[in-house]
């Protein structure tokens, strides 16, 4: 039966800082003085004004020996070599594709950095250039790795491994890049029955786990067969759990997502996005994660 819920807005409550948090985070807003001591080197997110170090973004102050920088909570993606990103193709140009990765500038995927079907290694010819659109069109999603960062900050991607390439059926969730924890691997096959790619740029791709690892395809043969209802439910639940974690500003990594999924099982999928259910689930996840640390 259809359900329509209309409610009154509730003011956001201040989240009480967990007692287990050892270090007190020094939070600043743009214009706040960080320190008046001139002995420090200034890093990203700061500037020198009137003999004192002032923050230029809103975030937490990080200090490494003599270097002070401010890590912003909500920011565009800043590319680093070796990051895994999920991007959407916006343009097809001569010998390269422009990919949108939630950065200040569109990222670039050169034709020579793309792996050809079958995994062959050969020089890209004029026919390859003309057939670019057959590989990737505007709107397609890809997973890639950052090869290099240009001087203006634009990122150059490559899909030189068979685990990268065009993405098939699934759901994309866009979050702030600062919420994705840096880990050894960003491709996870979760025990609940779906797989997830946690892009460093904040694009999270949830997809049904492929039955067999088809190494030869390399992501060019898109499987358009209907996904089973059970897999769909798992994917929808994961999507809502990720949105719940993001709303409560928890770091996203495989353990936190799995714990949140397990905490959400008693609720219906569509109820997870209700504010009170969200808080309850994330609180339970937080407690379990603290238990894990301790």
């Amino acid at each position: 039966m259809a359900a329509i819920e209309v409610r009154l807005p509730v003011a956001r409550k201040l989240v009480v800082q967990s007692l287990a948090q050892g270090s007190d985070k020094h939070l600043v807003a743009p214009g706040d003085t960080i320190t008046t001591d001139t002995g420090y080197m200034r890093g990203h997110g700061t500037y020198m004004g009137d003999e004192k170090l002032v923050a230029s973004v809103a975030g937490a102050v990080e200090r490494v020996n003599k270097l002070i920088c401010v890590k912003a909570l909500k920011t565009r993606y800043n590319g680093e070599v070796g990051d895994i990103v999920v991007g959407r193709v916006t343009e097809v140009q001569q010998k390269r594709w422009k990919v949108e990765t939630n950065a200040r500038l569109d990222s670039v995927l050169l034709l020579s950095s793309m792996n050809l079907p079958g995994g062959e290694l050969r020089r890209r010819s004029a026919e390859d250039e003309l057939a670019m659109r057959d590989y990737l069109q505007e709107g397609d999603l890809i997973s890639a790795e950052v090869q290099a960062v240009f001087s203006d900050g634009a990122v150059s991607l490559h899909t030189r491994s068979l685990k990268y390439g065009k993405l098939g059926q699934g759901v994309l969730v866009q979050v702030s890049p600062s919420l994705v924890k840096r880990q050894k691997t960003h491709f996870h096959d979760l025990p609940c029955g779906a797989s997830v790619i946690l892009g460093n740029n904040g694009f999270i791709w949830i997809y049904p786990t492929p039955e067999q690892k088809d190494e030869e395809a390399g992501g060019f043969v898109t499987n358009l067969e209907p996904v089973s209802l059970h897999d769909r439910e798992v994917i929808s639940r994961l999507r809502n759990c990720i949105l719940a974690l993001v709303a409560q500003k928890l770091m996203l990594y495989d353990t936190s997502i799995v714990y949140c999924y397990e905490a959400s099982l008693p609720h219906q999928i569509k109820d997870i996005l209700k504010p009170e259910v969200m808080q309850e689930i994330v609180l339970e996840t937080r407690q379990r994660l603290l238990g894990l640390e301790g």
Binding site: I4, V6, R232, K274
Partner: protein, 291 residues
């Protein structure tokens, strides 16, 4: 309308999901996202309301001003609508980009409210042929997250429910001209009866089924949608087809039935919340924009 670009595989995933009555966020085909309504958010208007439907954010303000009745209806007041698509909502609305959408919304609102049973405009008349109340309804689109028309109609209904028009008395002057006297008590006002104000239900046809309250991604997969204006009793007052695709008469009939059913439920839920908010009175904590 704001739109997102999706890959073929994503669209196929969404269409197949809807076929099995499981949308990407876990809703069924006839479920709405959580709606948040708050009235009396703008202090210098006669009535205002803010509605948040998922990522869609609408602010409506109603100002009651004195004006002269229109020539064809000398015993009635009238409503004037204005829609502003803020550039904050989506980059496409920058400059004059939002004008086309704004005109479409305004025309739809005029069409819905042109029906005489919607709002009792005779009660807005002060002096026949000379003075009447004109209600200027201003709609501001703050964020575009799919399903604009539904959210706007809910906000307009809530704002009209919240509107307080000051009571005026017409006195005869010595020379024979009429003088209008405003009551001293600022809380002495007339309220509008919004029982018959319809709500818009947009049904988007995706694959073989239709869904209510489509998100931006789902709107990108639908070729045609039907806009229905439904009253609280389930009567259809207005129908409009949007989109490039075509609709089969059979499916139009099915969509109408769904729209009537969903519309009735939406009205009951909305009225319940508006009454609840009203009953909280001055003890209500206003959340507003910084809450």
């Amino acid at each position: 309308m704001a739109s997102v670009v999706l890959s073929e595989a994503e669209k196929v995933y969404i269409v197949h999901g809807i076929q099995e009555d499981l949308r990407v966020d876990g809703r069924g085909c006839e479920d709405y996202r959580c709606i948040e309504v708050e009235t009396d958010v703008v202090s210098n208007t006669s009535g205002s309301a803010r509605v948040k439907l998922g990522h869609t954010d609408i602010l409506v303000g109603v100002k009651a001003e004195m004006g002269t009745p229109k020539l064809e209806n000398p015993n009635e007041g009238y409503l004037e609508f204005f829609v502003d698509c803020s550039a904050n909502a989506t980059p496409e609305f920058e400059g004059r980009g939002g004008e086309e959408l704004a005109t479409e919304i305004v025309n739809t609102l005029y069409r819905i409210f042109s029906n005489e049973s919607t709002i009792d405009v005779k009660s807005l008349c002060i002096n026949p042929r000379e003075h009447c109340w004109v209600l200027y309804v201003d709609v501001l689109l703050l964020e575009c997250g799919g399903n604009l028309f539904d959210a706007i109609s809910i906000a307009v209904k809530a704002a009209l429910f919240n509107t307080r028009i000051p009571k005026v008395r017409v006195l005869d002057d010595e020379e024979g001209s009429k003088e209008i006297e405003l009551s001293d008590d600022p809380y002495d006002c007339i309220r509008l009866n919004v029982e018959n104000v319809p709500c818009i239900i947009t049904l988007s046809k995706i694959g073989c089924r239709h869904v209510v309250d489509a998100t931006l991604q789902e709107e990108a997969c639908s070729l045609a949608s039907l806009l229905l204006s439904v009253t609280s009793r389930g009567t259809l007052t207005c129908m409009k087809k949007l989109g490039n695709g075509s609709l089969d008469p059979e499916s139009i009939f099915e969509m109408m039935e769904t729209g009537k059913r969903v519309g009735k439920m939406l009205h009951t839920s909305l009225q319940k919340i508006l009454d609840k908010e009203e009953s909280l009175g001055t003890t209500r904590q206003k959340v507003g924009f910084l809450g």
